[in-house]
């Protein structure tokens, strides 16, 4: 009951938020929150650290952006679906390769594969190289609703986020999610119980990649831009940081982490510390790992448990 109430309050807040805060900022938070939630499904609930998740974000954003710009009269939902499908396909191929190794090697394999994709996008003619794809039209949703207005776009992005978030929530609380947790906690045991561990890992990887692609596709429409930043290894690191800071393995952690990091970046970019963004992110990383491994949500939960 309590949870339901909390969800309703949050939903209400999300609905009125654009009246108070700048919609584009909120949309950025939502896109990164979805990206981080997708990443958290993999790291937090199956213990697989992918250091190349930017590929899926960037692929979604490049494909959606390219289609919107080059196909006349294409509606945004089709372009998004195409971006998501490509991300899912790459997720399947990369996942197939990456689940062959474990732990630290898994992280290195995904990072290297992501770098492979980075060079592909850098050299491929349709991505515009260093300039990226600019001036992507937002188009009309289902051919009816014009998304060029920021407020309309915001509610669309909110709907996408809620859809993605609900899917992740369902996945975590499904029998599949329980098996994933079992694999995370004790892989040999899960194998001995007869679970085909690698297939579970692969499916989890694909779901995560798909939703990361959804975040990327939506992000391309929000900013009307798809660029190399989205596929750079730094972006892969950023999503790790969001998840770690918010609390990996918690439902709301990545959302809070993404909100915090995006807010921090916006605040820093305006001020005199703008040049130190990478340094500050690095310091936050170190502090999180040394003193704060449960993340914001994890620490909050501990606090609540201890006092109430």
């Amino acid at each position: 009951m309590n949870n339901k109430k909390l969800n309703l309050i949050l939903l209400g807040l999300a609905l009125v938020a654009p009246l108070v805060l700048y919609p584009v900022f909120l949309m950025k938070v939502l896109c990164f929150a979805l990206f981080a939630c997708a990443f958290n499904l993999l790291l937090g609930f199956s213990g697989l650290l992918s250091f190349g998740h930017a590929v899926f974000l960037g692929s979604g954003s490049y494909i959606t952006g390219y289609l919107m710009l080059s196909v006349e009269g294409l509606t945004p939902e089709v372009a998004i679906l195409a971006g998501v499908a490509v991300s899912a396909a790459i997720g399947f191929v990369y996942g197939k390769l990456a689940v062959k190794r474990e732990g630290i090697y898994f992280a290195m394999v995904t990072l290297a594969l992501a770098q492979l994709a980075f060079f592909f996008y850098l050299q491929a003619p349709f991505t515009g190289g260093e300039d990226g794809i600019q001036g992507i039209p937002r188009g009309k949703l289902f051919g009816v609703i014009d998304l060029s207005d920021n407020l309309v776009m915001y509610y669309f992005v909110l709907a996408v986020f809620i859809g993605g978030f609900a899917l992740i929530y369902r996945t975590i609380h499904s029998p599949f999610g329980q098996v994933m947790k079992a694999i995370r906690e004790n892989e040999p045991r899960a194998i001995s119980l007869g679970y085909k561990v690698n297939q579970y890992k692969l499916l989890c990887f694909v779901i995560s990649a798909t939703l990361a692609g959804l975040a990327g596709s939506t992000k391309a429409l929000v900013f009307q831009l798809a660029s190399l930043t989205d596929v750079h290894w730094f972006m892969s690191g950023e999503v790790v940081l969001m998840t770690l800071l918010g609390g990996m393995g918690t439902i709301w952690g990545p959302v809070l982490g993404a909100g915090t990091i995006v807010t921090l970046q916006n605040a820093l970019a305006a001020g005199p510390l703008g040049n130190y963004i990478h340094v500050i992110m690095g310091v936050v990383f170190v502090i999180c790992v040394l003193a704060f491994r449960n993340g914001l949500v994890g620490e909050l939960q501990k606090l609540v448990k201890r006092n109430f």
């Binding site: 062959k100 492979l116 999180c288 790992v289 491994r293």
Partner: protein, 292 residues
Amino acid sequence: MFDINLFALFGQLLIGLINGSFYALLALGLAIIFGLLKVINFSQGALYMLGAFGAWMGLNYLGISYWWALFLVPLAVGAIGILCERFLIRPIANEDHLYSLLLTFGVALVLQGLFTHWYGSSGLPYAIPDELKGGFRLPFMYLPTYRAWIIVVSLAVCLGTWLLIEKTKLGAYLRAGTENPQLMQAFGINVPLIVTLTYGFGVALAGFAGVLAAPVYSVSPEMGSNILIVVFAIVVIGGMGSIGGAIATGLGMGVVEGLTKYFYPEASNTVIFLVMVLVLLTKPAGLFGKEA
């Protein structure tokens, strides 16, 4: 295929060997650290960058010559590494090893960010020392002295490290620690000290590679992260089971990259990653890997 331009081919092979020397030095450092600490040091690339900047700063601010830099900078980088190990990595030594990967990633971000802020992202030049200027005219190619020096000296360092680990008492401790640190501690050997020194030595190798690289690549904050991702792929290809394997894979991949640059330049950035994919498909544990 038959009108191969030997001059260009050998030129690319030489560049490949030089890149391979750096890959080998960095992969060797990673493998040594991983062996004992089970930590993948994500800051290895940043420390390599620090080595190159150390040489540049030494020359421009303190007038330290290349030769002294070659000796002093690895010591300094090693000392920084020891501090990192002692105060950052050791407190989380018992946690999941993914945390130490993330921690060193954070350290790398800080170092790269600071140097980008101080020196911008365009490269700084570092002159080749007078003693190593010039070159040899061979029948099939022109071999600049400095490039030959890189290959010779990094091979010597790799070989020396290999001998140190395989043939000396200290190396025996190191290998024993890799197998079973608890048992070694029970025999009265100071394992934490060995761990710290190993980490220091591993990152000193990166610093040394950085000094060697300063005159051939431009000294820039991003030089570390770019090479490190390639070295990660190399480590996946070779597996970190053997020191010799890390060295051989590093050099070999450099050569593969050089050959690709000659035959199909478009793929030269990606060929090592593609080799990694092939290895994962055929021999998932890596060429020299031991794990099941």
